[in-house]
């Protein structure tokens, strides 16, 4: 029995004394693709940030591969929402992707040949090889999303967390991204995605975590996504226990 990728124990989080996440208990096994689904304001991004250790919860704790996140930083990679990125920042595609290696590099070391090779491979994997020297603002929406997926790839992490990666990308890019993610899953990695589109759930994902401040269900998509559970989640009121 392999250690679960992410273990969430009794996580609660409040903002201005209103609960954003409440008593979330879930175990996410390794090697699956999981979608975090819920209405707006359900706490999806907060859950992601709590998993990443960016925001400390009011109660509860999260284990990554059996240990606290501080010990597992190299094993978890984050792809933030596209709208939060400063596109005018002076970096090229190559620079952006190389950032992913900084976790391995630390303060003093310069990027080695191995680091450069990983970047090259990641750019090939997302199909952006020719764009390496372009500034990040000179890309289309889909290409921009691919850059940050490449950045997550070079981290060589076991777990990838993506926040709404399919918002505002074209259909071709969406297909390409899904195929990359599926390849990673087949290599044994765990992919967690905050997802907004119910229609593509069954095709893209194995598991779903349905959330509306409280956890409604977490498990294989067919079990979790039922008419009743969707009504509870999106019905307009918070879930009762």
């Amino acid at each position: 029995m392999t250690v679960p990728a992410i273990t969430i124990c009794d996580i609660s989080f409040s903002y201005l004394n209103k609960p954003v996440l409440w008593d979330i208990d879930a175990t996410i096994p390794q090697g699956i693709m999981l979608a975090i689904i819920g209405p707006n304001g359900a706490g999806k991004t907060t859950l992601l940030q709590t998993i990443l250790g960016i925001t400390p919860p009011a109660a509860g704790r999260i284990d990554i591969l059996g240990g606290p996140i501080q010990n597992q930083r190299l094993n978890i990679a984050y792809v933030p929402q596209r709208r939060l990125i400063d596109w005018d920042f002076p970096i090229t595609v190559w620079d952006a992707v190389m950032m992913g290696r900084y976790g391995h590099l630390g303060w003093f070391k310069r990027p080695s040949a191995h680091d450069r090779q990983r970047c090259q491979e990641a750019l090939d994997a997302v199909g952006l090889r020719e764009f390496a020297t372009r500034h990040i603002s000179q890309l289309s929406g889909g290409q921009q999303q691919r850059v940050f997926i490449a950045r997550a790839l070079v981290q060589d992490a076991m777990i990838l967390l993506l926040d709404e990666p399919f918002v505002g990308v074209d259909a071709v890019t969406e297909r390409d991204i899904i195929s990359i993610l599926k390849q990673l899953k087949n290599q044994g990695k765990t992919i967690v995605v905050v997802h907004h589109d119910l229609h593509t759930l069954h095709d893209y994902f194995d598991w779903a975590l349905l959330l509306n401040v409280r956890l409604i269900n977490c498990g294989p998509v067919s079990e979790v996504i039922t008419p009743d559970s969707l009504k509870t989640a999106f019905g307009g009121r918070q879930a009762a226990p």
Binding site: C9, D10, S12, S14, N17, K18, P19, W22, D23, P57, A58, A59, G60, R61, D88, R237, Q238, A239, A240, P241
Partner: protein, 368 residues
């Protein structure tokens, strides 16, 4: 008499600044006051060159023109997408100000435009320049200028309060009723420019910024309703003006600086002790909210596990602390809170929900 005149002018400046200042702070444009206060010197110097007077209708005209130019220049830079807002502001006003300082230096060699007075103003000298007309001494000239602008600002704000608030704070609504959102901003910038230029001679540029931003901040720590904030900012400004003046007399220092310092002290006191927003009460409030929320979590936890096999195990204090990831001290605080409120009670070494606690747990789920 002179004391009174100086305090009167200072108070009028305070009120004249507090009004546009409140709007600036609420719109997060506080630093525009800094930018305009610096840029306007160029207008004053150019007007001085022509009229040989620091304060004149021409200087007011130039000041408004340069004030608008500063804002327009910053906006154009931002619109070009080459520069961000904060950098754009920080690029324009130093240029105007530098040109002004160099001009002051050149012109000032032959006349009495003092480089230092540019920043400090010379409130102490204000009573010396008097308005004489029809053989009567009508009082200090600056007083009249400031008084006029102050009355103008008050009347404009009262008369146009609704359009002003709507265009500034609700652009969608203002478009719906046919008012361009830009009108409010333009009106505000004109007010800021005029106020700055008439206050310049008396109090210099830095105090203008201080009087625009600080009283509004102090008022916002105490109340949130716009009209009350405006009134309170004016009151705070006047109090600081009077107190500051006497501090300056005592220390034999610049009046403008003393008023600024007084405002700083007033702000510090409000910041710490304000019942609504003060750091002290804020902290206490936050702590309490945190503990209450944690207790809620605990109660819900007890509720969910009630009647299950693991109940006796789960409800011990050590287990709970570990489960919630709270240290012993914090767990104790939370439990004491719950016990005091009567949500649960001890049964041996584990906690049991009371009926009050059960009700609270159930009600916790009907929050919106």
């Amino acid at each position: 008499m002179m004391h009174f005149e100086i305090m009167l002018i200072a108070s009028m400046v305070a009120i004249a600044c507090a009004i546009p200042g409140t709007f600036l702070v609420l719109k997060k444009w506080s630093l525009l006051s800094d930018a305009i206060a610096h840029s306007i010197l160029l207008g004053i110097v150019l007007a001085f060159w022509v009229t040989n007077q620091i304060q004149s209708p021409l200087s007011m005209l130039f000041a408004v023109a340069i004030g608008m130019a500063t804002v327009w220049g910053s906006e154009s830079l931002v619109r070009s997408k080459l520069i961000k807002e904060d950098a754009a502001i920080g690029l324009i006003f130093p240029v105007f100000f530098s040109l002004a300082v160099i001009l002051v230096f050149w012109i000032g060699k032959n006349t009495h435009l003092d480089q230092d007075a540019v920043l400090l103003g010379e409130l102490a000298l204000a009573p010396l320049r008097r308005l004489e007309w029809a053989g009567i001494d009508w009082g200090p000239v600056s007083g009249w200028y400031v008084g006029l602008v102050m009355m103008g600002s008050i009347m404009m704000t009262i008369r146009f309060f609704r359009p002003l608030s709507v265009t500034l704070f609700d652009p969608l609504l203002s478009k719906a009723v046919g008012l361009s959102p830009g009108l409010g901003m333009m009106g505000l910038m004109i007010m800021v420019s005029l106020t700055t230029v008439v206050s310049y001679d008396a109090v210099g540029s830095i105090l203008v910024v201080c009087l625009m931003v600080t009283p509004a901040c102090i008022a916002l720590l105490v109340t949130r309703e716009l009209k009350r904030v405006l009134v309170m900012a004016c009151v705070v400004g006047v109090v600081a003006a009077v107190l500051g003046y006497w501090v300056a007399v005592w220390l034999d220092a610049t009046i403008a600086g003393s008023i600024a310092g007084t405002l700083g002290v007033l702000f510090l006191l409000t910041f710490i002790f304000s019942p609504l927003q003060g750091v002290w009460s804020h902290r206490v409030l936050m702590q309490q909210e945190k503990i209450e929320f944690a207790c809620k979590i605990l109660v819900v936890h007890l509720y969910s596990h009630a009647g299950t096999v693991i109940e006796n195990q789960e409800n011990t204090i050590e287990h709970m602390g570990r489960h919630m990831n709270w240290d012993m001290g914090y767990s104790n605080q939370v439990i004491q809170f719950g016990l005091a409120r009567g949500y649960f009670e001890w049964l041996g070494d584990h906690l049991n929900l009371t009926s009050l606690g059960r009700e609270w747990a159930k009600s916790a789920f009907s929050l919106t």
